[in-house]
Each structure stands twice: as structure tokens, then as C-alpha cells.
């Protein structure tokens, strides 16, 4: 980033016992996904950006304009922030038709009724709801309502677009279309976008950069490739589908709990090791041969996972393993069963903690 970021924020806010403290910078045209477990503070951060929740400290600067800066007693109300929001539970105005919901923003931004409605109609078409323009929100199904909310936020063409799970209620097909639509729109418009989502796929497809929050703090940040390759918390590891452990490294060898694993990389000091569940092989007896990372474990659970089965293992380290149904049948997997787990060093990544 050579130009100053469009959004430059240090969000410090309190909500009951919950304390939020995160830094966010988003460049013009950039899409940042905010990921985190339930209750991590994603919605709170988004509310602070929209002006619905005051900061208690820190600052919030958008396009070089201070919008919230407690120390300078600056606070711009939400209606004068160039910010558009798609709320987690829609909040469509129940007394207005879908069309008038979408036209609401343009009207408030000075368009006359006719222009606003035309623009709204256009947006409804883009989210595939041209036929429902006259429907009241209560006559829309859950997913239809969500799409109207999306159209409503996009219709004000905001400098900062905030989306709280914009695609969560959409079915797979509409999600694909709307995601593409959204991606096209984000490509068109010069503003910054913050996307709160639970869906790693949405984040990976739509976002240029991921920011992961837990307990109100940023725990990891970076582009999709670096985050997915090197998760730094349990949550991120689960998100990207990796087993993650923290230990002490000494070259290729990392000691985790009572176990020493060999990794493909060379690290020294505190380190993470990560490997996919699919890289874990299970054996009824101690395997000989190439896998150098072998340990005895106990099956604690088995679930279907796509075409495969995902096996939860306890032992010196708790890991998940994916096995084919055929392999599972052969092993006669059941909870409480002792097995040997093996991971190839080539599929085990290590990196500094």
C-alpha cells in the first residue's frame, strides 16, 4: 500500500462485559473479510464503523476524514457517514415494499422519487428480485429478504460498504449468482469493503485480505494464501481445515506435548505445526516405512464428512483424520478404539509462532 488507506481505524469499544480492540486498514477498492467465531465482536466492529456504536478510544478515519475520534471529541452521525450496511438480520422496513426499501437510500441522498425508484428497480433486477418489487418484506422468504437488504445497501453507493453475513441466508444457487454480482460490484466501485462472514469460501472468493478476530482482538491477518497455509489459532485451523499444534521447534523437529513431529520446514524456537486431516493415515498396528510422525491414539468420534469419514483422535495430541469409507470399514472404526496415527513429514508444515 503506497497510497494512504481509505479506511484507517483503531476500534476500541465496549459492549457490556465485552471489550473490542482491533485495528483495521482498508485501501480503496480493497475487500477485507472479517472472520471470527460467534461472539468474537465482528458485529460490534461493524456497528462502530457505521456510527451505531461509539468508540471509547482509538480512531476511525475514512477518506482522510475523522468520523469518530473520542480524544478530539469528533463523532459523525451514521446518516452523514458515506457508509452502507447490510445487517445480519436484514432489518427491512416492514411497511415499505421491496422497491421502496431499496429506493429509501437514494431518496435520502437527494434523488427524486422517480430516479430513486428507477435505481432501486435496477438494483432489484441485479439481485434477481425484479418480480418481487411490490412485495412487502413479510411476503418474502428469508433469502429473498436478505437479497433486498443487499440491494438496499448497495443502492447508496457507499465509500465504505459493510456487510454482516450478506450471503448467509441464500441458497447455493442464488449465492453463487449473488456472489458473482457482488464481486462485480466490488470490482466496479472505488470504495473500501468490509465483509463479515462465517463462510470461508465467501471470504476466499470475495476478499483480498482476511482479518481474523477472536475475543475482540485480531489474531491473524493476511491474504488468503498466507492465512490458509499458516493458521495461527485453532479457529483459523478449523476454518481452513487443518490440524494445528503449537510446540517448540529445533530445525525440522517440533515437540508438541509429549510428541515430536518432523516437518518439511526448518524453524527454531516457538513454532506451529499444521497438517490436513487427509494427511493423517490410521493403522491398526504400528506402521513401518516412510511416515516418520507416528503415534498411538484413541478414536473418540467418527462423522461423515463429505464422501469421507472424519475421525476424531485423542492421544499425545488431539487431531482429526479423514479416511475413506472403505478404510474405515476395514479398520472397523468405533469410539474408544486404539489406533496408530501417521502423518508424512512432507505434508507437515512448520512455521514460527
Amino acid at each position: 500500500m503506497t497510497t494512504p488507506p481509505l479506511l484507517d481505524a483503531h476500534l476500541v469499544a465496549d459492549r457490556g462485559a465485552f471489550h473490542l480492540d482491533i485495528r483495521l486498514r482498508i485501501a480503496a477498492g480493497e475487500v477485507v473479510a472479517l472472520l471470527g467465531p460467534n461472539g468474537a465482536g465482528k458485529t460490534t466492529a461493524l456497528r462502530a464503523l457505521a456510527g451505531l456504536h461509539p468508540l471509547t478510544a482509538g480512531h476511525l478515519t475514512l477518506a482522510q476524514v475523522d468520523l469518530d475520534r473520542p480524544d478530539r471529541r469528533v463523532w459523525v452521525p451514521p446518516e452523514r457517514r458515506p457508509v452502507g450496511v447490510v445487517f445480519q438480520d436484514y432489518l427491512l422496513f416492514p411497511h415499505l415494499s421491496a422497491l421502496d426499501n431499496v429506493a429509501f437510500g437514494p431518496r435520502r441522498h437527494g434523488a427524486d422519487r422517480r430516479t430513486a425508484r428507477a435505481r432501486a428497480g435496477n438494483w432489484l433486477d441485479r439481485v434477481g428480485l425484479g418480480g418481487q418489487a411490490r412485495h412487502k418484506p413479510r411476503q418474502l422468504s428469508g433469502g429473498q429478504a436478505q437479497r433486498v437488504a443487499l440491494a438496499r445497501a448497495l443502492a447508496v453507493e457507499p465509500t465504505l460498504l459493510l456487510l454482516d453475513e450478506p450471503l448467509a441466508a441464500l441458497d447455493a444457487r442464488t449465492r453463487l449468482d449473488t456472489r458473482a454480482e457482488l464481486q462485480r460490484h466490488l470490482g466496479d466501485h472505488p470504495g473500501a469493503t468490509l465483509l463479515v462472514t462465517h463462510d470461508p469460501l465467501d471470504a476466499l472468493v470475495l476478499a483480498d485480505r482476511l482479518v481474523i478476530v477472536e475475543h475482540g482482538r485480531v489474531v491473524q491477518e493476511g491474504d488468503a494464501a498466507s492465512v490458509t497455509a499458516r493458521p495461527r489459532t485453532d479457529y483459523v485451523a478449523r476454518l481452513v481445515g487443518l490440524n494445528l499444534h503449537r510446540g517448540r521447534a529445533d530445525g525440522h523437529r517440533v515437540t508438541v506435548g509429549g510428541l515430536t513431529l518432523t516437518a518439511a520446514d526448518t524453524v527454531h524456537g516457538d513454532a506451529f505445526v499444521a497438517f490436513p486431516p487427509a494427511a493423517v493415515a490410521l493403522h491398526p498396528v504400528r506402521p513401518d516405512g516412510s511416515p516418520r510422525n507416528v503415534w498411538p491414539a484413541t478414536v473418540t468420534g467418527v462423522q461423515r464428512h463429505g464422501d469421507n469419514l472424519r475421525v476424531q483422535l485423542d492421544g499425545p495430541v488431539a487431531v482429526a483424520a479423514d479416511v475413506t469409507p472403505a478404510a474405515a470399514a476395514q479398520l472397523r472404526l468405533h469410539p474408544g478404539q486404539p489406533v496408530w496415527a501417521a502423518v508424512k513429514a512432507a505434508e507437515t508444515r512448520a512455521y514460527p509462532a
Binding site: A50, L52, E79, V85, F93, R108
Partner: protein
Amino acid sequence: MTRTPRPRQRVPLALLLPAGLGLLFLVLPLVGLLAGTPWSTLPRRLAQPGVLTALRLSLETATLAMLLCVALGIPLAWLLARVRFPGRRLIRALVTVPLVLPPVVGGVALLLVFGRRGLLGSWLDATFGVTLPFTTAGVVLAEAFVAMPFLVIAVEGALRGADPRYEEAAATLGAGRWTTFTHVTLPLVAPGVAAGAVLCWARALGEFGATITFAGNYPGRTQTMPLAVYLALETDLQAAIVLSLILLTVSVAILAGLRDRWVSAP
């Protein structure tokens, strides 16, 4: 979202019984009145010159009073429901004052303020030559004073029940507090406003004490139906009952015609 009726719904007796009792309690006295009415004299009474005038005046002033209450009361209710300021509790309690004040005393209080020698009245008289007592405007004022709490309390309750996040959504779409109020908040609480306006209108229509004290009783100018009823009571109970029934029938007809439309509007 869905108001589909459940079919063949059974209404629990524990609810039906008190509801029926309540209804009976409200309606029986009316039955008593109807039973005691000399129906034969009704056409003659209706034809009396003063009656229709009083009825028209009642309806006009009650409607104007309601509009005044709506214009001033909704913003006041909004202030009480949405803005935090010191002394809000006290002000909220003060709003109920006209309810508790015996209406005649309320009329005296209005005279002390808007009367010829009142705090504001003397100034109004000297500056604009406006005197409110003994005028139709005075009737509206008296009725509005007595009826205002009904509107304010009903609307404040509705506002507190409404989800403020819709207002937040409006703000993020660029609506200031005023636009949010007119375009989002008001439509959302429309049923509450309607209920409050109905209460307010009905109370204004039945207003007697404050009106006669503040605005006096002059046929065609300040004599509303309740005033006519009270005067009739002095000499002729039957006449008073008939006049009351006329007032009732008209208001029930108007309310039955209006309320469902209002209530089902949003």
C-alpha cells in the same frame, strides 16, 4: 410475518371467561340505558334545534383537539421514549397530570394560564387581542389538555415496543433523525398512534368539566354534547339519556368504521 389463522382454534376458558365478564361489564350499563330510553320521544329530541348543533360542535372540536394532540403529543412521546435527558422520569409522570386532575380544576388551571388575567392570556390579549375563554378555540384547548396524556402515553408505549434497530438501519441509509422519524418510526408505530388517537378523540368527545370551566357554555359556540347532557340532567333524566345515546351512537359508528382500517394499515 405470518398472520395465518390457526384453524379450529379453541379459546381457553380461563381467557374467555374474564373477557366475557369484562365485555358484559362494559356493555351492560349501556343495555341499562337503552332499556330506560323513551324511544318514542327520540325523533322529537333529535329535531330540537340545539342538538344537532351541539353534536356537530362536539365532533369538530374533538377532532381538532385530537389533531392538536397528535401534532404536539407524538414528538413529546418520541422525546420521552428515545432521548435521554435529566428529569425524564419526572416529565413522564407530569404528562399524566391532566388525567388525575379533576377536570373542573383543570379548567381553572387553564383559566389561570390562558384566561383574561392569566399568565399567558393577559399577554395574548394585550398583544394580539386574542382571548381564548368562551370561544370554540377554547373548547379545543380544554379538550386537548385533558386528552393529551392518552396520546402521549400510548405512543410512548408503542415507541418503546418498536425495534430501534430499524431506526439505525435508516440512519445508515442517510436518513437524519427527522426523516427517520417520519419515514420509519412513525409508520412502524402506526397501530400505537391509532390506538392513542382513538383514545384521545373519544376522551375529547366526552370532555365536560374542563370545557365548561374554561370555555363556558354557550349554544352554538361552546356548548358540546356533554354540556347539553349535563344541563338536560338538571331537569330531565330521560332527555339526558337520549342525548347521551345520540353521542354514543355517532361515536361508536365512527370508531367502528375507522379503527379496523387504521389498525390493519401497516
